[in-house]
Symmetry: C2
């Protein structure tokens, strides 16, 4: 493996050059700086082949997703992404594969002006770990712990398509090619809600990105904020592809328990509701109010204004149709 050529060719020629990067790729460390009135948010996510994406996933999709899942965490903090470090473990060096991977990874970086500042390439079973960093006004960020009883619960976009795509990958359950393509795209090329996250910074009381599934991630907010919640199942936004191909109960199950959506789930107080909706009206994706927090310690669900039971393990992962299963941010 001609390591240095590999590195130079694929990773040092990226287009983004930020002024706050004093020293980029090529030394023992990168050197960056933040302004005096900024805080830095930091997240790390790993994708393992066969666990977080099916074997056979296109390298472009893998590259996109590796960056997207990290930017999604930055978005959930209401921060502006700035720098990423990329650690990639490859069974072998394959120029075509790397070219495609870089296309997927770096077009997202270019779009959001995120600079690759370093990383590591190693030989082994395929996996990608990215540490992404972002900037936010000093001490101003969205966390999971700020929700109060009575806050409204919102999600961006539509839920469940990625999980449906994954089920199709395993069991070939879909027959309509248009639908397969639509849900496959949601699984492979999730859009991190970066601009919406920044717009929410002034309005939301709590936020998280939906990677584990709506119920599990709402559970994280509830646990961190010490609140309960009720979800109106009829309000959960579903895609046309989902509605056309699935019975309602199955669709809701995908949306509640599927994961891999990378939409934002957030809470807003009654006072901030109108301001938030106005601010996000042109932010690039729809938002939907799906329920309300309360002072219970549980998550309940209603359908047609009637309570319907959900699993008692509401604060843990559900296993039925979970997409990417065993990762766990720490």
């Amino acid at each position: 493996m001609k390591e240095f050529e590999l590195i130079k060719h694929f990773f040092t020629e990226q287009a983004v050059r930020r002024k706050d990067v004093l020293l980029g790729i090529g030394d023992d460390c990168a050197v960056v700086s933040s302004a005096a009135n900024q805080s830095i948010v930091v997240t790390t996510d790993t994708l393992v082949a066969g666990v977080h994406f099916p074997l056979g996933t296109s390298p472009k999709a893998i590259g996109h997703k590796a960056v997207a899942v990290n930017l999604s965490d930055i978005a959930a903090m209401g921060a502006e992404p700035s720098w990423i470090s990329l650690a990639i473990t490859l069974p072998e060096v394959n120029d075509d594969w790397l070219t495609e991977f870089c296309t997927g990874a770096f077009e997202l970086c270019e779009y959001y002006n995120v600079q690759l500042i370093g990383g590591d390439t190693t030989q082994g079973p395929l996996s990608i770990t990215i540490t992404a960093q972002g900037l936010t006004p000093e001490g101003k960020y969205l966390s999971r712990s700020g929700a109060k009883p009575g806050d409204w619960i919102y999600v961006t976009g539509e839920l469940g398509d990625a999980a449906l795509a994954l089920q199709h990958h395993k069991e070939q359950v879909l027959t309509d090619n248009d639908i397969i393509e639509q849900v496959q795209r949601k699984l492979e090329f999730p859009k991190p809600r970066v601009l919406m996250g920044q717009s929410l910074r002034e309005y939301a009381s709590a936020a998280i990105d939906i990677s584990d599934g709506l119920l599990a991630d709402l559970g994280h907010i509830c646990q961190a904020s010490n609140v309960g919640a009720n979800i109106v199942l009829d309000a959960i936004p579903l895609s046309d592809a989902m509605n056309k191909s699935q019975l309602f109960d199955d669709a809701i199950d995908f949306a509640l328990n599927g994961g891999d959506d990378y939409e934002l789930l957030f809470t807003v107080s009654e006072d901030n509701k109108v301001g938030m909706e106005t601010a996000l009206a042109h932010a690039g994706a729809k938002i939907t109010c799906i329920g309300q927090t309360n002072s219970s310690q549980t998550i309940s669900t209603t359908l047609n204004n009637k309570a319907v039971p959900i699993s008692s393990s509401g604060f843990q992962h559900f296993s039925s149709k979970k997409a990417a299963s065993t990762d766990n941010n720490i």
Copy 2:
């Protein structure tokens, strides 16, 4: 896998709590801040089982080494390590293994007041990726590119033991248990030269940590600084274990080409030589002058004041007795 219990138990109960960490483990991102007059250095290194450490390496050694190799990069910049993000991929959750791993990783963090601020746990073939960050006075850091012709070349500690240990692991070449234990310890528990790096910040013209081998890493400095170098082979510091167990030629080969030493290699101008030696006199490890840079474009070596040839591929990895072979910082 009871993921949340795993996370809470092993990673959130760490002792280090820094004031510059506004939000630690448990949200979508950590939030940290640097002072207005500081720069931040960032590095990422991956260890893959069977590639960067032999299968069967103790989890404590793996934990130590995963942190140490990253702090070594921070040291080579002359910075003070501050935060790490830990991405660990495990075939299965094993409490005993994780306890030992954490012992190895976090005793080093505690010693240097480095806080774990986040990461990811995933299922898959064993590998560990750490992103470490550090702080340094604004714009003041050691790079590979500052060496001038005529600078003196130094290394900390002694070289080659880790490579000897790795060869023994593969071929059982050693017979003396004391020697095996000594070199094994150098391979498994390298000491990042954090304090020496910080002391060097005022004096060194260039620095790097020796991970790829003395010749390869000197090559990186020469290339980045546009200088050549001569190494006095008789001056290269070797351990007693090495001297007792190896012929001189083999010992020098381990030192030149072995890698995994995690000692610092640095250059100092004639003017800063005495100041540097005084400053480092009590910094915890010996330093040895092993040669001098020059205005050629090559690395030469001398023995008994006579030139001796080395491989012509001086700016690339040597393969003969290289320790951990295929990683590559970008």
